[in-house]
């Protein structure tokens, strides 16, 4: 019995994953320079709509992918966390630009050294700013990730790597 159930759920997962990955509703959390490249990617030249991610929602409750675009300072960090918490599951986070990945070259008193210190991140798109091609590549990676995910939105268990545990 369990065999059949497994078969059906995995097919269902696949179908749901397929549907989800082509209907990405993104919430752009645009703060800084990367926003310009975000704009360029979203507009007609690079046309992010080809990947089913053409409709930015400006309400976190309607969005399922949070694009964190641009430097996150300590002053804005609580707002970002709040927005992340307001999003409904399943949700994904893309960190756009090196500032959100690691803090970039703003290693100083004002900036957060990578948003993964405050919220979980699914896809990192480095670059300062990343070119639109990079962004599209990151988006495709995200789609692949969404595809293999369980339909409940539960993420695959992270790899256990004890040697990196602190």
């Amino acid at each position: 019995m369990s065999d059949h159930a497994g078969f059906f759920t995995s097919r269902l997962d696949e179908a749901i994953g397929w549907a989800r990955k082509f209907s990405i509703f993104q919430y752009p959390f645009v703060t800084a320079c990367c926003g310009m490249e975000y704009m360029a990617t979203a507009c007609s030249h690079y046309d992010v709509d080809r990947f089913g991610a053409g409709l930015p929602r400006f309400s976190p409750r309607q969005a399922d992918v949070l694009f964190v675009v641009g430097t996150i300072s300590h002053k804005i960090a609580p707002v970002l966390v709040r927005i992340y918490e307001q999003m409904a599951e399943p949700k994904w986070v893309v960190s756009f630009g090196v500032c959100t990945c690691t803090g970039g070259f703003y290693d100083n008193y004002a900036t957060v050294m990578g948003i993964d210190t405050i919220i979980p991140v699914d896809v990192y798109i480095p670059g300062c700013p990343p070119r639109p091609e990079y962004v599209l590549d990151g988006l495709i990676k995200l789609q692949a990730k969404i595809q293999i995910q369980h339909s409940t939105g539960q993420r695959p268990r992270p790899e256990v790597r004890p040697e990196f545990e602190r």
Partner: protein
């Protein structure tokens, strides 16, 4: 508490109360992060409080920790829509501190790229502002035009947005082959887009109704707030750094400074549209007049002595004779790649980075590069302080630099043009409707990187 009645109001009268509405920091109509707390009486704004600083990244502190050339990438990210103007402003400030001047050709190249930058800035501002009022197609058109210009920028600098193109004492590289033609084509496309947008917006009833009469400011108020640039010009004051305190070669180029009359959103839109036209004019003239010659600074210190003589002096230990000397070599001794880059000038070696071909192509170039980028080396201007203003896309962009004679600046201060404009935002909003926040904020053209630094 009885919420239906104000204590003092007569019975039966509707109650009148003020309401607080918080817009931002993350709000769709705010491109950029800023928080506006408005106090509303019905739909009218009676009071506002503006909170900024969400993008404070410590530019000024970082600039004290890196060397003079290292600041250039940080300046890109101040006004990230027109980075080339920031580069130019910073480099010209350091050049003023050093007391060197750059060759003619370099000035022209800088003018060309910074005017292209100005166009992209205005395109973004007008396009995003129009989008927020519902004219989405205008936004797409303008971004399309911006894309053409960015391709041009990429052709010259190698990057689309964060270009770091100017160098102290010059620019990174000469204009590439075929730039002329590409540039003319891109400008033509831009003109087309401008005409289209003009047709879509300028007499569009909805657009005009929302823009005209909103976000008004008088010339006196604007001056008192230190507002400059297109914003000030929309109030009828004709102040443009390019005309009034000309730098580079702006005094040789023909262009008009458009001014408005009423100082409202619509006038600002018109001024920006006209300025793009003027910038195109400037680029075309500069391309026409672009002189040949070197694009990096000429040495002003250091007397030239033949290389062989310099070696001899060095061998006998006569250091005094070669301290301030500059070796000149026979052309045939130059690197093999030289003939392909006839414009590269081996000028003031203590100031500017060598051309990339030299850095990768020969040992002298590599050493010169190291002497300028290695920690603790780099440009060492004399002790002093300077202020240098240029006309940024939003107004006067000034760099104030204090040097203590070491390889990194003691203090770098940038006068951000939109800081002044934002400080006047309460004045612009009070008395208008809440829906007018969107066009007013759009026409302010707030750029987070420059506002909060």
């Amino acid at each position: 508490m009885d919420l239906t009645k104000t204590p003092g109001s007569p019975p039966g009268e509707p109650e009148i109360r003020e309401m607080l509405l918080n817009v931002g920091p993350a709000h769709p109509a705010m491109h950029g992060i800023i928080r506006i707390v408005t106090k509303l009486d019905g739909e009218q704004i009676v009071d506002t409080d503006v909170e900024i600083g969400y993008l404070h990244r410590g530019f000024e502190k970082m600039a004290e920790t890196v060397d003079y050339n290292g600041v250039i990438p940080y300046t890109d990210r101040l006004n990230y829509v027109s980075p080339l103007i920031n580069n130019m402003g910073y480099c010209m400030a350091v050049e003023k501190l050093l007391g060197i001047s750059v060759p003619e050709r370099c000035h022209y190249i800088r003018v060309i790229v910074s005017e292209i930058s100005r166009i992209t800035d205005h395109l973004t501002c007008v396009g995003a502002g129009a989008m927020e009022l519902g004219a989405f197609s205008v936004f797409l058109y303008m971004i399309k035009a911006r894309e053409f210009l960015w391709e041009l920028v990429e052709m010259v600098t190698g990057a689309r947005l964060t270009v770091s193109y100017c160098r102290v004492g010059g620019v990174k590289a000469d204009l590439p082959e075929g730039f002329d033609e590409r540039c003319r084509k891109a400008l033509q496309e831009t003109r087309k887009v401008l005409a289209e947008s003009d047709a879509l917006l300028t007499r569009n009833r909805i657009f005009v109704d929302r823009m005209s009469g909103t976000g008004k400011i008088s010339a006196d108020d604007a001056i008192s707030h230190g507002i400059t640039g297109p914003f000030l010009r929309s109030t009828g004051v004709e102040y443009d750094v390019r005309k009034d305190c000309p730098y580079a070669v702006y005094d040789r180029l023909q262009f008009d400074v458009p001014v408005g009359t009423r100082g409202d959103n619509y006038d600002r839109f018109l001024v920006r549209m006209e300025e793009m036209e003027q910038s195109i004019r400037i680029v075309e003239q500069a391309l026409r007049d672009l002189p040949p010659g070197p694009f990096l600074a000429h040495p002003e210190t250091g007397r030239p002595i033949p290389a062989a003589e310099m070696v001899d002096e060095g061998k006998i230990g006569n250091i005094a004779a070669i301290v301030d000397a500059r070796a000149v070599t026979d052309p045939t001794l130059e690197g093999a790649a030289k003939s392909q880059h006839p414009n590269i000038e081996a000028g003031e070696k203590r100031v500017f980075l060598p051309a990339k071909e030299d850095t990768y192509g020969n040992i002298e170039g590599l050493m010169q590069q190291f002497k300028l980028v290695m920690y603790g080396h780099g440009i060492r201007p004399p002790k002093g302080e300077v202020y240098f203003p240029v006309e940024g896309a939003n107004g006067e962009l000034g760099f104030y630099i204090v040097s203590d004679g070491t390889s990194s600046a003691y203090r770098v201060r940038v006068r951000p043009p939109c800081f002044a404009i934002m400080s006047a935002l309460p004045k612009l909003l009070i008395g208008d409707m809440i829906a007018d926040v969107t066009p007013t904020f759009g026409s302010v053209n707030m750029i987070g990187g420059e506002l909060d630094r």
